[in-house]
Amino acid sequence: MSRIPQQALPEIRKKVLELAGPEDFEEAKTFLEANGGVEVATIQLAADPGPEVRAKIKHDLAKQGVLARIRIDRGLAGGARLFKGGMLKDASWKGRVRKLLSAIYA
């Protein structure tokens, strides 16, 4: 594999962060890890938000140097989950119901 010129690296990183899709996520992650490191975020959504929203999410996170992976999980029954830096923010309906049930049966 040819070496990447240092001056081109920031631009390539930006493109990879913004454009990597689910099919080339692992390759993108490996590349970014090898070239300056990367933080990964997984966003689970109950419904497909459409290409524009997807692109906006990826763009906003890419600005923070975060490689975003968007997954659709209808089992969430609404809302979203965000996995980032070993933490989970659960704003899904599934999570809310579980939280309520665990409070009731605690």
């Binding site: 990964v40 996995f83 070993g86 923010k89 309906w93 939280k99």
Partner: protein
């Protein structure tokens, strides 16, 4: 449901949720990337620790972390893993595997996580959490093994004595009586201030049920706990079972009490660990076992100890069982466990089928520390038994080719045969100390040399029955004094001469 009603319902849930206290916003969690054969790959959860338990709420299961990497790790699911799916959150609460242990466990059958499996409801009494894996007591916390653990089996107590805090391996082919020796030892602990733990690893449920029933029938469940990880339980549960047994034993040892743990058996334990390791893609080594299979057993058996008086003088004795294939003790696991333990009791198929039961090969069985723990009376009365047997086996082999034998050789053969007969013992019939001493004394001093070989076993049964009634004071003297004084010797001679005429 009409939209308006749905909104009302969702609002009601939102309102209810406002009353639930927040758990500091976000929680530490990663993502299940894959689940195959009960092994879960978790990503997005850096800083996972070996042995940590992660929770997968969506599948209502826990998983034990057995391999870590920069971004997460591999964990083995502890419950049936059918509900685990890719994309589910795996929560980390810095929780490690613990076992709720208390005196209420006595008489119960539990799984390796301490949950009762005997259908008798929750375990009562005060329970405290203890880690499944813990460090063995260090050198300074230990004392020398100096108290005997009476098995009630003459051949063992006389020739291969076991001390409290010792690790003595029971090894042999299948169907040679390994479990029987261990169970008889448990039965003999009645009233001896000993808590017993029987760990069934990869056994048939029917066999474990049979063992539990046998213990119940003999009133031994009052001081016994059974840890059951049957053949039908996941490999990870079988892997954890002996550590759970050791943790329970340590609980009693640390209280200043005495505990005996039987691991039945460590061959199956090694197989279950091999299964888990191969699923975790650890490189296979000899016999496909992973490289740390020695450490698997050494860290378990090192937890057996006799504690110093400053640490309460408690003890944890381990009786691991290992099954050999066609008597091959040079296989990987047998050699490992032989080298870890303080001796081994070798059971042989050939002896078993010749009717010598327990089928202990006294020639290659050894106890490395138990001799120091043997009672004075047992040590003295068994003095020549091992020599008699060694000479007998040597002469017996040669005499097969000899046409004529001299009187001295014939006498030695007769004596050896009688000692072999004296060491025969029925299952579930452990002997008291006085019975063992009386038997050994009579056999090694030649009091049964004139009894036909076929009648020696019956002669000893009658002798012991009469001994108890006619020499009750001598019985008391042996049981309490445990010393072979000249007076006791004289009385033993009189009893044997009178009752074995």
């Amino acid at each position: 449901m009409p939209n308006e009603s749905l909104h009302q319902f969702l609002n009601a849930i939102d309102e209810a949720l406002k009353k639930v206290p927040e758990r500091a916003g976000a929680e530490r969690a990663g993502l299940v990337e894959s689940c195959r054969d009960g092994v879960v790959r978790v990503s997005g959860l850096p800083g996972l620790r070996m042995g940590e338990v992660i929770r997968i709420d969506d599948a209502d299961v826990d998983a034990l972390v057995m391999e870590v990497d920069r971004d997460g790790g591999l964990a083995v699911v502890l419950q049936p893993s059918q509900g685990v799916a890719e994309g589910q959150p795996a929560r980390s609460d810095n929780r490690f595997l613990t076992l709720a242990i208390g005196d209420g466990m006595l008489g119960r059958v539990v799984d390796p996580l301490g949950r009762p499996v005997d259908g008798q409801g929750a375990i009562g009494g005060k329970l405290k959490d203890f880690p499944l894996e813990s460090l063995a007591p260090d050198v300074m916390a230990r004392a020398a093994v100096a108290e005997p653990l009476q098995t009630g089996i003459v051949a063992i107590d006389a020739l291969i004595p076991i001390g409290r805090g010792q690790r003595e391996l029971i090894i042999g082919d299948r169907q040679t009586g390994k479990t029987t020796v261990a169970i008889d030892t448990i039965l003999n602990q009645k009233g001896k201030d000993m808590t017993c733990i029987y760990v069934a690893i990869g056994q048939r449920e029917a066999k474990t049920a049979q063992v539990v029933q046998m213990l119940k029938d003999h009133g031994a469940m009052d001081y016994t706990i059974v840890v059951d990880a049957s053949a039908s339980s996941p490999a990870v549960m079988q892997y954890l079972a002996p550590y759970a047994g050791a943790a329970i034993g340590e609980y009693f040892m640390n209280k200043g009490g005495h505990a005996l743990v039987v691991y039945d058996d460590l061959s199956k334990h090694a197989v279950s660990y091999r299964e888990v390791s191969l699923l975790l893609r650890k490189p296979p080594g000899r016999e496909a076992y992973p490289g740390d299979v020695f450490y698997l057993h050494s860290r378990l058996l090192e937890r057996a100890a006799k504690l110093s008086p400053e640490n309460g003088s408690g003890s944890l004795t381990a009786l691991p069982i290992v099954e050999t294939q066609a008597g091959d003790i040079s296989a990987y696991i047998p050699t490992n466990v032989i080298s870890i333990t303080d001796g081994q009791i070798f059971l042989e198929s050939a002896l078993f089928y010749r009717g010598i039961r327990p089928a202990i090969n006294v020639g290659i069985s050894v106890s490395r520390v138990g001799g120091a723990a043997q009672t004075h009376i047992m040590k003295k009365s068994s003095g020549t038994a091992k020599l008699d047997l060694a000479q007998y086996y040597e002469l017996a082999a040669f005499s097969q080719f000899a046409s004529e034998l001299d009187a001295a050789t014939k006498k030695q053969l007769v004596r050896g045969e009688r000692v072999v007969e004296a060491l025969k013992q029925k299952a579930q019939k452990p002997l008291a100390l006085w019975q063992e001493v009386a038997t050994l004394w009579a056999a090694t001093k030649g009091y049964v040399d004139d009894v036909p070989k076929a009648k020696v076993v019956d002669a000893f049964a009658d002798y012991l029955a009469a001994f108890e009634t006619k020499y009750a004071s001598l019985v008391a003297k042996i049981e309490t004094g445990k010393e072979l004084t000249d007076e006791v010797k004289k009385e033993l001679d009189t009893a044997a001469a009178t009752l074995l005429k």
